[in-house]
């Protein structure tokens, strides 16, 4: 059990960082996990050079989805949007295809704490929700991201 609910996960779920609305966001998207009713709104502020200046989220969800969103908003701040997009792919592969033994990009180091979800197939979607939502926000998709 402790492989899933690691201290870092519990900490971020209890005290999510970057929680709240970002008034001057340039990109936003909603994410919905229809399975369990998790929903979050992601706010991203991208500057003229394509750098993510700030990001935040609000909404409600399980410990895994909140911690994932909290860790994500910390990780992507300062990244270029193209780099953020490749992070989405890396995380998705890591959580679903189990690239555990392979190394992780330095920006994503803390997200290794989410590796435990791989052993809980029902929970992978909780961990990927924030990242799917980021994808939708950066693509200006306009429709809510889902985990289906």
């Amino acid at each position: 059990m402790q492989d899933l609910y690691r201290e870092l996960i519990l900490d971020h779920s209890r005290k999510p960082r970057h929680f709240g609305c970002l008034e001057d966001a340039t990109h936003t998207a909603d994410g919905i996990n229809a399975l369990c009713g998790d929903r979050l709104t992601l706010y991203v502020q991208v500057d003229d050079h394509g750098l993510i200046r700030r990001s935040s989220f609000d909404g409600s969800g399980c410990a895994i989805s909140v911690a994932s969103a909290s860790l994500m908003t910390a990780a992507i701040t300062g990244l270029h949007v193209t780099r953020a997009a490749s992070c989405i792919d890396e995380i998705a592969a890591r959580l679903t295809e189990g690239a555990a033994s392979t190394g992780v990009s330095p920006e994503l180091e803390k997200l290794v704490a989410l590796d435990g979800v791989r052993r809980y197939p029902g929970r992978v979607k909780c961990a990927t929700l924030a990242w799917r939502t980021l994808q939708a926000a950066l693509n200006n998709a306009g429709t809510p991201a889902t985990t289906e």
Partner: protein, 411 residues
């Protein structure tokens, strides 16, 4: 009070269900999710397997032996269903894929051709999505309106308010017999009596009632009664719509195809008699035969015995859960069956579900296809433990111990 002999027998009931005899994550499985779908006794599994091995063929069509056997078994199951709910006649038993299809059938075949703009369909705030969305669809198609009776903090329907909504504009009332998210036993008798006096038909969603209590559609005096096979120990993809014959008679078919016709020409097609008019295409033959076996199983035990035994475990569950520190029971109706929803501290129900699963305890988490109920309580979802005749008090003790563990992890 339940006879001691039945208490003892309950242990035998559990042994009838092969799926319960396994470990999950190294712990003996405690299955507390029967409201979502119940396990099947060996007699159902074996009946279906025997049919597949020996008797499978299409029904109603062949002159050969296997077709005859398949038809006998399939139609035999219809007779069992009719007897089980005390239908007036087997022609009132329409076989469907489940409660969902049964309700959609009534919405599209009974309501849609007759609904006028301004008419209302009255339901309650407690309903499963299957008893909400089909009405929303038909309201959109016809300009009718959905009227929703309120509930209170206990999870009980405000009956007076519901009765007040039933007026001369009301075309039909839809109400669950037992609410799936909270376990509330709804006052269907009062609602039916009130509607009957105004000649307004009532559909009862019995998905959560049929597995737990004796249901007699004639005594209830409703007009339609819908339920699912897989919640009463039968196979998935089976369900029943019971309807009054005089109403079913006036309804057009809702799907066209084989089996539902008497004669087809390009000028004119005539419908088959009841209930086949509503059963287009090759049905779920093996599933229905399995459902027949499930009914045999329940009849052998006796629904009175099932209800008495389950009430005892239910009351124990409620009492024991109420003692858990940090728990908030959601749904405390005075009359309840088989279900308890709850929240634990501020731990998300999904996390509770995962931690319990790790200890072999299977519960359901989320909105339970009753999002309006969650909206009423202002919560995204609950954890829900639900019982069937194979559960016992020790299961509840295991549930409580597993919840303590969840509190430790999130302490």
């Amino acid at each position: 009070m339940i006879a001691r002999a039945e208490m003892v027998n309950a242990h035998h009931w559990r042994a009838d269900f092969p799926a319960l005899d396994q470990s999950v994550h190294g712990n003996p499985l405690i299955y507390l999710d029967s409201a979502a779908s119940a396990q099947q006794p060996a007699s159902v599994i074996d009946t279906v397997a025997r049919y597949q091995r020996e008797d499978h063929s299409n029904v109603h069509r062949g002159v050969h032996t296997l077709s005859h056997r398949a038809t006998e078994a399939y139609e035999g199951a219809r007779d069992k269903i009719a007897g089980f709910i005390n239908a007036n006649s087997r022609t009132e038993i329409v076989l469907t894929s489940g409660t969902t299809e049964s309700i959609n059938l009534v919405a599209q075949s009974f309501c849609r051709p007759r609904l006028q703009p301004g008419d209302t369909i009255v339901i309650s705030h407690l309903e499963h999505h299957a008893n909400i969305v089909p009405w929303q669809l038909v309201c959109e198609q016809t300009g009718a309106e959905l009227a929703v009776a309120p509930i209170d903090e206990r999870g009980e329907i405000d009956v007076e308010a519901m009765l007040a909504l039933i007026d001369d504009k009301t075309f039909l009332v839809g109400i669950s017999h037992v609410a799936n998210a909270l376990g509330t036993i709804c006052p269907v008798e009062r609602i039916i009596e009130h509607a009957r006096a105004r000649e307004i038909p009532v559909l009862v969603d019995g998905a959560q009632a049929v597995p737990h209590m004796q249901v007699d559609v004639q005594a209830l005096d409703c007009d339609f009664y819908a339920f699912s096979g897989h919640k009463m120990f039968g196979p998935t993809g089976t369900g029943v719509l019971w309807g009054r014959e005089d109403l079913l008679d006036t309804m057009p078919p809702w799907q066209g195809g084989g089996d539902m016709i008497l004669e087809v020409t390009f000028d004119r097609t005539t419908w088959n008699e009841l209930p086949y008019k509503f059963e287009a295409g090759t049905p779920n033959i093996s599933g229905v035969i399995g459902l027949g076996a499930a009914i045999d199983y329940l009849r052998d035990i006796g629904m009175q015995n099932v209800a008495a035994y389950e009430n005892d475990v239910h009351d124990y569950m409620v009492a024991e859960l109420a003692k858990v520190d940090g728990i908030r029971l959601v749904g405390e109706a005075r009359r309840k069956a088989s279900v308890q929803s709850f929240l634990l501290d501020d731990i998300h129900s999904h996390d509770v579900g995962t931690i319990l699963d790790h200890q072999g305890v299977a519960i359901r988490t989320g909105h339970h296809c009753a999002m309006p109920v969650m909206q009423y309580f202002g919560i995204p979802g609950t954890a829900r433990a639900s019982l069937a005749l194979y559960n016992n008090r020790e299961d509840i003790d295991r549930l409580v111990a597993a919840l303590q563990k969840a509190r430790e992890i999130f302490a």
